[in-house]
């Protein structure tokens, strides 16, 4: 789920219901500021809020993976510090290679990797460009995989295509008008992904590109899914009996203690 705060009206008690409905990954913010923290287009990034800290604690308690894609660097760093389980950044690239607000600075990558998390490298063209305004290629995307691997280790790299095939031209136009700073010059959902890896059908091409770049077999397997699988196991843990969320030790009915305390104050 993207932009969690607006989806739940900032009401953390809904997280338990959503967990029962199957929610297993939740993104704290979209590009803007919300009740939990700041999105990547907000300046300055004021970091994780008090409610955001409570939210991360509750997500960890329930076994919902914290996704920090779209978050601002400070918000992401503080959420990683707050989380008791590894986090993910499901779809973004390395800011060291492409200076785009949606991409992740190395300092955040290091924090993510140090806590066992994974970055899903994405096919979204504006985040892979080597020359502004020129559609990048699959090789450019592999550069990002290589950079993240060299910076924090290959155990922390995955894939997050963001192939959004249901996007209509009209909706895409609205999206790009809202987020010009992040989306660049692309005017059609058909061309907004890197050349050579632009649709769900293209995953085998990515594997071949990794092999040709010289990645070892075990590293290719990790990038393709092994790393995400490890994080899913660590974040979700063993399912509770009956598949429900684990009970809390207190009588708060699911409301995180920190929120209750805040209300008392």
């Amino acid at each position: 789920m993207q932009g969690l705060a607006s989806k739940i009206d900032d009401d953390l008690t809904l997280l338990r219901i959503l967990h029962r409905l199957g929610l297993r990954v939740a993104q704290l913010t979209h590009n803007e500021r919300n009740a939990f923290g700041c999105g990547c287009l907000e300046t300055p990034d004021a970091g994780l809020t008090q409610l955001g800290r409570a939210c991360v604690a509750e997500l960890c308690h329930l076994g919902i993976l914290v996704d920090l894609a779209h978050a601002g660097p400070r918000t992401a760093r503080e959420a990683i510090e707050q989380s008791t389980r590894p986090c993910i950044i499901s779809h973004a690239n390395a800011r060291a290679l492409r200076d785009n607000p949606r991409n992740v600075p190395d300092e955040v990558l290091r924090a993510l990797g140090a806590r066992g998390g994974v970055l899903g490298v994405t096919a979204y063209a504006p985040f892979c460009e080597t020359t502004p305004g020129v559609r990048p290629t699959l090789d450019d995307l592999v550069d990002h995989i290589e950079h993240v691997g060299q910076t924090i280790g290959i155990d922390h790299v995955g894939l997050g295509s963001d192939f959004f095939e249901s996007e209509s031209e009209i909706r895409f136009a609205r999206f790009t008008r809202s987020y010009r700073a992040a989306t660049g010059v692309y005017t059609s959902p058909a061309t907004v992904y890197v050349e050579g890896f632009e649709r769900i059908d293209r995953f085998p091409r990515l594997t071949e590109a990794l092999v040709r770049r010289g990645f070892s077999d075990p590293d290719v397997v990790k990038v393709l899914g092994g790393n995400f699988l490890r994080v899913f196991r660590e974040a979700w843990g063993e399912p509770a009996a009956g598949g429900g969320a684990p009970p809390r030790a207190d009588d708060s009915g699911g409301r995180p203690a920190v929120v209750r305390d805040t209300q008392v104050c």
């Binding site: 789920m1 739940i8 409905l21 979209h30 894609a69 994405t122 249901s166 995953f203 290719v220 598949g243």
Partner: protein, 103 residues
């Protein structure tokens, strides 16, 4: 003609195919299949649905996002959707029943 180069290319291709066939492939951020308001699955391509193409592409699992409030779908009524799902009254949720829980 450099046949050694061609052999190398072909070996890399074969190795990639074998790896891809055996690997668990996880798309950490896939498509929004069921936005709460618009409920549009991606259109078929070459007569194949999105999920058929994903499976043919070797994708084992995909993180599917529920929606993008405000920017693409208009205001979402997740609370309402949760309520419908719980009561089984939503057509998208027919057959869904809450699992038993220990709490």
């Amino acid at each position: 003609m450099d046949t050694r180069h061609e052999d190398g290319e072909s070996a890399a291709s074969a190795r990639a195919q074998a790896l891809h066939r055996e690997a668990i492939v996880i798309d950490g951020q896939g498509v929004a299949l069921l936005l709460p308001v618009v409920l549009i699955p991606p259109a078929p391509l070459d007569g194949k649905t999105f999920l058929e193409r994903a499976a043919a592409s070797g994708v084992t699992a995909m993180n599917t996002t529920l929606g993008l409030g405000g920017i693409a779908t208009g205001p979402d009524d997740l609370r309402g959707a949760s309520g419908k799902a719980s009561s089984g009254s939503s057509s998208e949720c027919k057959g869904w029943r809450p699992r038993s829980t220990t709490t």
